[in-house]
Structure formats: C-alpha cells, structure tokens
Amino acid sequence: MAQIKRTPPKYDVCVIGSGAGGGMAAKILTEGGLSVVLLEAGPPVNPEKDFKMFTWPYELAHRGAGVGGHARENFGEFLAPNGAWTIEGEPYTSAPGSNFQWFRSRIVGGRTNHWGRIALRFSPIDFKSGTRDGLGDDWPITYEDLSPYYDKVESYIGVFGTKENISSAPDGVFLPPPKPRCTELFIKKACDKLNILCIPGRLAVLTRPLNGRQPCHFCGQCGRGCVTASNFSSSQVLIPPAMSTGKLTMLTGAMAREVLVGKDGKAEGVSYIDKATKTEKRVHARAVVLAASACESARLLLNSKSSLFPNGLANSSGTVGRYLTDSVGSDGWGYFPQLEKMPPHNHDGAGGEHMYIPWWKFDRKNDFPRGYHIEFGGGRNMPGVGMFDGVCYDEEGYGASLKQACRKRYGTTIGFSGRGEMIPNADTYCEIDSEVVDQWGIPALRFHFKWSEYELRQAQDMQETFRTIVETAGGEYRAKTAIDGQYPFGILPGGKIIHEVGTARMGADPNTSVLNGYCQAHDVKNLFVMDGAPLVTNPDKNPTLTIMALAWRASDHLLEEAAKGNL
C-alpha cells in the first residue's frame, strides 16, 4: 500500500509561494535567523534561458504570437515565463452568471517576473473605508503603521518617482525618474489644460545602482524579465539574499495541498504533491505562511478541513474566500495625426510608464465612490503582432495604400487604461467547487463575481475621460464600447486585471475577518497569510507594494513572536 512519505527535518517556518509576499517572507525570516522551507508550485526560473531580452520578433519562428497564435490570449510570447488564465490540469469554475478569470503564474517569483512594476502606496484614507463612507470596512492598521514598511520596501527594491504631495498618491522613497517620452509630454499638455493631474510614474525599476544591482538600460522590455535585475522581481531580488543566509530550503515543483493541523489546533506543517514523482510529501514546521496568491491561499485554507475547523482552517468567521475584489479596468485609445511628424527616435525607455495620471477628482463629489488612476502609453514601440490590426480594420484594402497607411499610423496611437477601486460586494467571492478537482486531486475553486453600479459608473467615467483627453490633445478617440451588455463601458471581466485580493482579509473583529493586523490568523496563532488575501480595500493603486510592506511587517512580527516562544 502506498504510504504518505514524511519529510524530516522540522523547519521553523514553511512558506507557500515565492512571489511578492512569499519572497519577502523568505528573505526577512531567514535573515532573522529562522530556517525556512519554501514550497513553490512551479519550476526554477532561469533568466539566461527564460528571458527573451533583446530578441527581435523575427528571431522567433512564431514572431511573438506563440504556438498557434495562442500566446496572444495571454500576454504574448515575449513575456517572462508567465502563467495564464487557463492552465491544463488546473481547472476552476465560475457560477452561472459569473465570469471570473483566474491568473496563475507557476514559477519561482510568480507574477513578479512579468508584472508591470507599478509601485504605488495606498493612501491614509484607503485604510479607513468604513469610516470614510460606509462602503467596505476599516483596516485594523493605519497608514502610519505601514508607512515605515513602505519606506523599507522602496529603499530595498528601488522605486523611481517624484515627490508630488498629492493625497491620492502618497510620496515614497524615490530614485530619480527617467525623462518623459514624446507621447507622455503630449498627453501631459492636454491634461494640464483639463486640470487633470499627470505626474512622473512610480515603477520598481532602478535608475541608480542599488544593492549590487545595475540601473536600468532602458530597453523597454521589463515584461520579458531582466537579466541584470534592474527591475524588481522576487526571483532575482528577494530569493537570492534569502538563499545566501544558508537558511532557506526551496522545493520547486511542489504543489501545496493542505495545511496540517495538530490536535492542539496549531498548524504543524504542509502536505504537498511533489510534481516530479507524483507523490504526496509533508514538511513540518513551527509556523506556516501562506503566500500562494490571494485565491490560492483561500483555497488552501478551505481545503484544510479538520474536526477543529470543519469550514476550513482559520475560518471560524466564514469569511475565507469572501470580500474578493479585482481592480476596475477599462481601456481606450486614440489616434493623433500630429504624432506623424515625430522623427524616428528611441522611445523604449523603462518597460512601463514614465508618466501617469493619479486619481485627481478627490476634491469633488462624483457619481461613483472612490476613484481610479490612468496608465497610458503608445507611440514608436517595437513592432509586434497585432500592431496593425486597427489599421487593417479602418483602412481595409490592400497593396501600396495599405502599406502607406501602416507607415503613417505607426507611432501615432496612444492607449489608456483606467484602474480603479472595486467595493467588495456580497455576490463576489470564491468557494470550493465540490465537483471539480485538479490533476492532483485537489478540490478546485468556484468563483462568483459581479460588478455593481459603482464600478460600471466608474468605467463609464474612464471612457469619458479618455475621450476628453484625446480630443483636447487634438486626436480622434477610436475605442468603441457598449453601454449595455455583459461588459458595459468596456469594463473588463473580473480577474483580467490580475489584482484579485481580499479573500482572507484582516480585521479587528475575529467574527468578520480571518487575520489580525499582522496577517496572523485569529484562530491559529502560528498561521500567517502574506499575499493579496489580507487586503481589506482594493483601491486605485496596484496592490503589490502594499503586499510586500505587509509581508515585511508581518514577518517582523513573526520573528518577535517566535523569539518570545509565542508560536
């Protein structure tokens, strides 16, 4: 009879996931002297082999479209080893009427290998959602509690930006930003006319040497992965220092299945599938940190049932899987004939925005709550598949006229992406789908997702703003969105922005939250969650910087508690 193999020895901490939160936990805990075993579901990352930097499209047989052209359904063939919304053998379901797209990145470093590097602090008011206007709840911590950790994270990973003293965009510890691109100056001019804030972007990209990493060389290919670690990824910036302490054991190809709980109600280890041998193994640890990404961590908790925790581990509140949100997203684009006269020049820059639009309407009453920021970009980028789909659609025809139209159009379009705050609602959550398991027999998630009027009105406002900016700049707004239907105003399906958070939220009240302000489970003192799951609010700022600040703070607390013998 097959046996479940036990894996000695016992570690201080088992961390599940090596992304932003897990990588940070691994670094802080090992540097603090604890032995850590890190379970990563994916393979190791190999920058030399995996990162397609400086590769021309024609150096790939598929030119960037991937096998069968399917890479275009994710982010293209060039992106650093990324996951996908659909992974063979790892199904999930959506309830009728819902359509949640769940992105998983199965590799050391996870999504931080290919993320947009946008590093924005949450504002003080974002921690006070309940007090503010009754929509959502207050965090059990304040901006002042987290601010020292924002400082630490920015100082360690390196973020460029400028101090602007804008309430919706709290200043941080910044490296100098690169000069704006032509397209960015162009849009800034229009924004200035409209009194729309437009300031230097804030990216986790170095413009000065830092901690042995070289500054950015402006190839514009951050998304492909950076062999010099000039941009931030957990795999290249958090895991290596953790490794060099000698206290980190990383197990790759390790799909965590459930957290093991002792009779005393404390976590005592993790059962996982070793993918290479397809066997079940166990690691034992004095504390467990879940950082598998928000919904994956919720899934682990829900699948870790026992007589002490019949509704899932640490779930006496019933809120694991609840309060799920993703960012509100809607995109548009404009055509600017004035950009035709731009001389050919190197427009690449860092792999992201040098300028952006933080939420600016915080000083007035809007017909929706909260707000959104706008990312924009375009111009003379490296040509790629799909670049002239718009021209083909608009011009039709063929031959010399089509070729001329493409030449003329190149570099003249700018796209806009609004990214805004979703208010948690009772119809949006994830739970276990009792009828579906993945290829290792682990029960899968079922998602329920609904946009409310708040988010739809926000998306409408995004579209109107894009149009106004484009027309003020003298361009033609070309994006078309429906007013009704399943995705009004171009609102993207839940999960498409890949900022899903909230599924094991923190709170002062154990009846309505899973974790305390240190990301520590109310029910299980030696269990922590350090990815996007603890976030109470999903504001108009990308979550990753906050995930890392919370993880560092929670790890410091874990170290203190371990030293006191409280775990």
Partner: protein, 197 residues
Amino acid sequence: MAQGISRRDILRTLAVGAVGGSVLQVIPAQAAAYAHQMVHQEKAASATGKYVPKYFSVHQYEMLTALCDAIIPKDERSGGAVEAGAPEFIDLLTSENEKYALRLGGGLFWLDNFCTDRFGNMFLECTPDQKTEVLDLIAYRENARQDHTLSQGVAFFALLRSMTCDGYYTSKIGIADLQYIGNTAVREFPGCPPVPE
C-alpha cells in the same frame, strides 16, 4: 539596436558591470550560448531552398504567396511581405490552429471557386485585371453587405490581411520600414527629441 549589434554583445556588455552575490546575475558564458542558439535559429529560418508548407497544399501555398504579395508589396523603400517571410509565418500558425485552418484553408477554396465561376479560371490563372477585380471585392466589408455571397471571401481576406501585416511588421524588413529605433541598452533615456512644428 542597429540590426547588426548582436544580443550576445549587449548581454556581455551588461554583465561587465554586474556585482555578484546579492542578486541572480546573468552569467556571460551562458548568455552567449543562448544568443548563439538564437542566431542559429535565425540562420535556419532564412536558409534558401524550397519551403515545404506545413499545412497548406503546394497549390494553396502558391495562392497564399501571391495574396501576401498583393497585400504588402515591395516598393521603392522596402521589400514586401513575401520577402519578409509572411507566407511561412502564416503557414506555421495555421498548422497549429484549427480556426485559422478553417478560415484560411476554406477561404482559399472559396477564392478558387469564385474565380472559376466568374472568369472560368482559378485565381492564379486569372489575368492581373481579373485578380484586381476579385481582391477589390473581398477587401471591403461594405461589398459583403451589398452582396452576401461575398461574405466568406471578405472574412477570409480580413484575417489574411491582418496576419500578413503581422508577418511583415515583425520581420527585419518591416521593422526597418517603420524606422523603429530601440531594442538596445542605453545608459540614460534620452527623452523626446525636438519635434518639427
């Protein structure tokens, strides 16, 4: 980067300034090996010798080549889609994607049938004027609105047109035609050059 500096050179230059220990660094030797592999792939792709289509029949591939040439022809400034390898690219993707196979393969059959009905010859045997007449019809959605029998041809040509542009503008020739400058390492981002009024 100027399309002459190799990826290998850039990676080697970058590695010189790197400090080991605290981060996962590129190792020049391995980076160079990877670059060699890429260059080898490029050479294989441009090797002369008759291309054996992966999906299309020999006849269909000839049609495809003629159509790509019509969609993005050579001109005084740059070569066309055929020289850029668009037909091979389209054939590769079509051999891996059932939807493309149906729409493009089916479209080529449709085109031969249409030409036979209209002119008594398959597409490749038509005169230049006849070919122009057909393409002018299927190159515009409006024509299918007026005459529904053109619908399949119009849908086919729209897909082929997009894929031909994809194949052309991701090629060395196409990228040079657009005068894209980049894909290189620079110490400082130069910002926006002066723009003529």
